[in-house]
Symmetry: C2
């Protein structure tokens, strides 16, 4: 089970937090309560939230680890598994932080270019991982910023074929029509990352979670900072789990709006990629993002190799209508200038 784990982490013990019942608690250098009990450290492993979440997911609590956004969870995987100079493989284009985190954690980053920015040739990808001697494979699925989804059978084939730890970042999975990879608990080279930021629409609280074999979760706890999820986030997280009806309704609305927006953008001459996430990705005229921003409409523009590409989050019908109207205005203004 220690497979792939960094040598130094095999001998590292997790920082142990004492969570006993008490009448007087003077063991953690906490101060005097003056703001609703916030003088106390949070539960180190977010026990109540973790247990409720586990129940919802039909998992056991020890198969989950919570973090300050998925960002922290990606970094924890690198801390535990990546020796200096070892390689992380991902696809391209994808979430730019994978590359940045790899550099920060002293690794090398190699990207496998998707065909037409969408499709992965699974056999070639497995070969690529092998050639690069990757220690970690990070796959964002559905992928950000493209919105495309690697089918589950391909994901399974990748996990079972590569000689590396696989990090499956499912930040956007709630918007997909296809099943997640989170029932792949028999794999000992996989963790699945999820977040409260997207489907749960709680980006402000910074809450992500990792699903994995309990032995892997145990290793990751060794490199996790004590008390990594604050009291307020844990408490809103618990409350949010009770509101699943609302978020599910919103997700259905976004999926339906995604379909409408794709059609509308196509009518306007754009070619958005098929998306299984809460956004659409498409090439457009240079400066489109700036022109929209001048009208108070923010969409994501990209630089570098993705210059000229845009990513539009699907909002409420009203917000989406405002975007369509603004794009039309920009197009009209430009055609007058020609």
């Amino acid at each position: 089970m220690y497979k792939y784990l960094r040598e130094e982490i095999k001998n590292l013990k997790a920082y142990r937090v004492n969570e006993m019942e008490y009448k007087v608690k003077l063991d953690a250098n906490e101060g005097i309560d003056w703001m609703d009990g916030l003088n106390r450290y949070p539960l180190d492993r977010s026990d109540e939230l973790r247990e409720k979440l586990a129940k919802n997911l039909h998992k056991r609590a020890q198969e989950l680890l919570l973090g300050n956004g998925s960002s922290e969870l990606i970094e924890l995987m690198m801390k535990a598994y990546l020796e200096a100079g070892e390689t992380v493989v991902s696809i391209s284009p994808t979430f730019s932080m994978y590359r940045i985190f790899t550099i920060i954690h002293k690794g090398r980053y190699e990207e496998y270019p998707l065909d037409g920015m969408e499709r992965i040739d699974v056999d070639r990808f497995i070969e690529f991982v092998d050639e690069k001697n990757a220690k970690l494979v990070v796959l964002c699925n559905p992928n950000n910023p493209t919105g495309s989804l690697i089918p589950k059978e391909d994901i399974l084939r990748i996990i079972s074929s590569v000689d590396a730890m696989v990090v499956l970042d499912e930040a956007y999975i709630e918007f997909s029509d296809y099943p997640s990879g989170d029932d792949t608990g028999e794999f000992k080279n996989l963790v699945v990352l999820r977040t409260f930021s997207k489907g749960m629409a709680l980006a402000g609280i910074r809450l992500g979670y990792m699903i994995g074999h309990e032995e892997i979760i145990g290793y990751i706890n060794r490199v996790r900072s004590p008390y990594n999820v604050n009291v307020l986030t844990q408490s809103v997280g618990i409350k949010a789990l009770e509101g699943e009806g609302t978020t599910k309704k919103n997700i259905e609305m976004i999926k339906s709006e995604r379909c409408r927006m794709k059609n509308e953008l196509e009518k306007m001459g754009f070619k958005p990629l098929d998306s299984q996430a809460n956004f659409l990705f498409f090439p457009g005229e240079m400066g489109l993002g700036n022109s929209l921003a001048e009208k108070g409409i923010l969409i994501r523009s990209f630089g570098g190799e993705l210059e000229g590409f845009y990513r539009l989050t699907i909002g409420t019908p009203l917000e989406n209508d405002a975007v369509l109207k603004a794009i039309e205005e920009v197009q009209n203004e430009r055609s007058k200038l020609k």
Copy 2:
């Protein structure tokens, strides 16, 4: 100014977050609001809180960086400055996470033993740092778990003599009678870490901050995860800054109680070290911590080289009385058994 910075970080650009005014915001894949606007990501650099805090500290906002507890800030320093295999020097005993973080960030950890667990021989320490070829020097001041303080003139001498970055962890500085090192802004090899967990008594929100030269803060922002401090913590942090009167009063009370508790413990035969923090550190009979825990009184026991040492946080007068009473009971029970 790039001195000491990791090679890879010299070329790394920080992840850029767009924070423009807007009517419709569809650039960050946020969901539909259903819980008080928590669908939005926090301000990436905690601008409002950072500006208010800067004002209180008579600093400029660009000299501050906020984190998910000081833990994150210690890690950020290692991410930016520590190449694989490079050395971090600290004192012993001290906060155990320095060692753990060093291992996680692929460094070597070397500890300089304090004389009598309290005093540092500055010349010998500077030599030690030099011999070990340290890249980072981490000093907890006042020190945890001992409570002892390195005088400011010694700190200044260390900073100006070592060929390394110095991280001055002032988590407990508000409880000290002596000045902090935070007016050492002319040093380009120093950052000072502070926290809302101790003097501000808000451990639950996980909020720490780094004070340093604005160029250093700029480098650290390159290795900081986007949106590292959540909305709720930023908001409570802002509110807390308005309540400084209360926290100052509580700090005075703790300082006075620290004096009383030291005397009382001495009367009971213990020998606590002089403390400039909100706790007392003393050797005691084996099992004292467990005996107290059975009575519902939690104090910190240590293992390893500190086996038989205890750290007692100074609480309210009532809590402190309860501890004294419980210790007396334990002592009586034990003397009866003899």
